[in-house]
């Protein structure tokens, strides 16, 4: 089984559009499993019309909770907290006890160990939910990280591992992962173990800048990269710069997708663009899939 992750560095360059199209095209050739690795802005389900089969809690991380009846307001907890998560008693709403600001608490338990009154306990957090679904193109693992939660990397890893397990159980040939933007912990989690990272770049100053950083990240972790230039004709000069940069670094550009409003129309209709209309965008994406398939040495 091969693992392909779609990344971009910069957000909004078309990762999910590309992933959905590849899911559609790949599923015609071979059996695939899908995972949405962008757990704090998960959009793949919007174009795959999945049917949820299973739903699970994602418990992760702890938060400090202060027992207001035991707290003597000595303030030790506030002193040891390095995350500005503990605040003194307030007049309104009236409180005798110190208070924890849940979103700032990192669950380090430093206050728990230092409280002389044993007034603090650590409570495990329900940080999100994850799902196994059936989609038109194969099983989909996806998740929803609750607002503002930490540990998105852990949830990405969980979703991906579930996908891997099912893929190997069912002898699927490809695990296709829609990655998050950026270069930090969720990206590292989404890329771990990938055979190839497909980087979706837009031909802008910002897109080129971010490509360099995400490429640095995939190289750092030893994942070979391929590049797609999306909306390539919006700025031919910048597209050529991206292509030249890739040539210098020995990175294959596997496609140049033209700008077309059909991409958004397909999204509004909740379908992958390749399943929505047969035009220049779909033709370019079919070519991308052929090249990716060849690179991954996948046989139909």
């Amino acid at each position: 089984m091969k693992q392909l992750v779609v990344l971009s560095g910069k957000g909004g360059t078309g990762k999910t559009t590309v992933t959905a199209a590849l899911a559609h095209l790949a599923s015609k050739d071979l059996s695939i499993v899908l995972a949405d690795g962008d757990v704090d802005a998960a959009n793949l389900e919007l174009v795959l019309e999945p049917t949820k089969l299973e739903e699970h809690d994602f418990r992760s991380g702890k938060r400090a909770v202060i027992d207001s009846n035991r707290c003597t307001a000595c303030g030790v907890c506030e002193t040891v907290c390095r995350f500005d998560a503990i605040h003194p008693p307030t007049e309104t709403p009236f409180s005798y006890a110190y208070q924890v600001e849940a979103l700032s608490c990192e669950g380090c338990a430093s206050c728990f160990y230092q409280c002389p009154e044993d007034a603090i306990r650590m409570e495990e957090q329900l940080a999100g939910r994850w799902f196994r679904s059936d989609s038109r193109f194969g099983p989909l693992f996806h998740a929803h990280l609750f607002a503002g939660q930490e540990n998105s990397g852990k949830l990405v890893t969980l979703v991906k591992q579930q996908g891997r397990l099912l893929a190997s159980d069912t002898d699927a040939k490809l695990l296709l992962v829609d990655g998050p933007p950026g270069i930090g912990c969720p990206v590292i989690s989404a890329s771990a173990g990938a055979d190839v990272a497909l980087l979706v770049v837009e031909p802008t100053v910002a897109g080129a800048h971010d490509l360099e950083r995400v490429l640095g990240t995939t190289e750092h972790f030893g994942v070979p990269a391929l590049v797609i230039i999306n909306k390539a004709d919006l700025n031919e000069g910048r597209s050529q710069e991206v292509a030249d940069f890739c040539a210098e670094r020995g990175i294959e550009v596997v496609g140049r997708i033209p700008y077309d409003t059909v991409v958004t129309e397909a999204m509004v209709q909740g379908r992958p663009v390749t399943a929505y209309v047969d035009g220049a965008v779909s033709a370019a994406l079919r070519d991308v899939w052929e090249r990716v398939k060849a690179r991954l040495a996948l046989e139909a």
Partner: protein
Amino acid sequence: MIITVASGKGGTGKTTVAVSLALSLASEEPILLDCDVEEPNAALFLNPTIEAHREVGQMIPSVDLDACTACGRCAEVCQYNAIAVVGENVLIFPELCHGCGSCTLNCPTEAITEVLDVTGVIERGRNGRVQFAQGILNVGEAMAVPVISQLKRWAIPSSTGERPVILDAPPGNACPVVEAMHGADFVLLVTEPTPFGLHDLKQAVEVARDEMGLPVGVIINREGVGDQGVDAYCEAEDVPILMRIPIERRIAEAYSEGVPLVDALPAYRERFRRLYADIGQLVNGSKEGER
């Protein structure tokens, strides 16, 4: 007034809005902070002169093995499995450490001191009357939050008074976004009128308004693509739509070349000043609502 520009979904125009707002308010000497430390792009549009920079990261434990008795207490209290005691040796995993200092406080023989593990840099400078600062996470590092929090501490004066402070947040809805919103007076959410934009906007409203209790408003960028879902949602949720930027090829082209919107289309300067005034009224209104 501190305004955080966020979005949920990436690529909706956060940086375009943050930079344009700062440039439009130049006479008020605004401070613009690029808090998207994984992929900082605001400097590409603002072209600031960088005047100062420093390395940042987190404080990680360093163990004096002469004083250490290998009792294992540090490993026991660490919630992140960042310390392991193996025989007489103490192993430290910097990439797992959150820099909380609990191990230092709990060590019975005071064998632990803390040293800076560098994970990024923060920079400060200006372009004309716009003060600028940005954080840059080193490639290969996982944790964005410490870089963002140190950037904010370094670049935002303790009392900002009337001065506009504009924070360009990272995409998503997880902890780095919370850090960028923390302490803001207002959260400006830039979205596009598509199902993806709407889906992620809803979560951003949940974080900013419902979890953090901050007043929010929306800018619809690329008006004219997609559908009416964002409009319907904002009306139902009573979220004010403060500006609409139409989908236009010349805006996209200026963006692609790193030209700020208000330089390409100077008429937008007045619109952004108006936006700032509107936000001021909303912030005052919500403060009065609290009283």
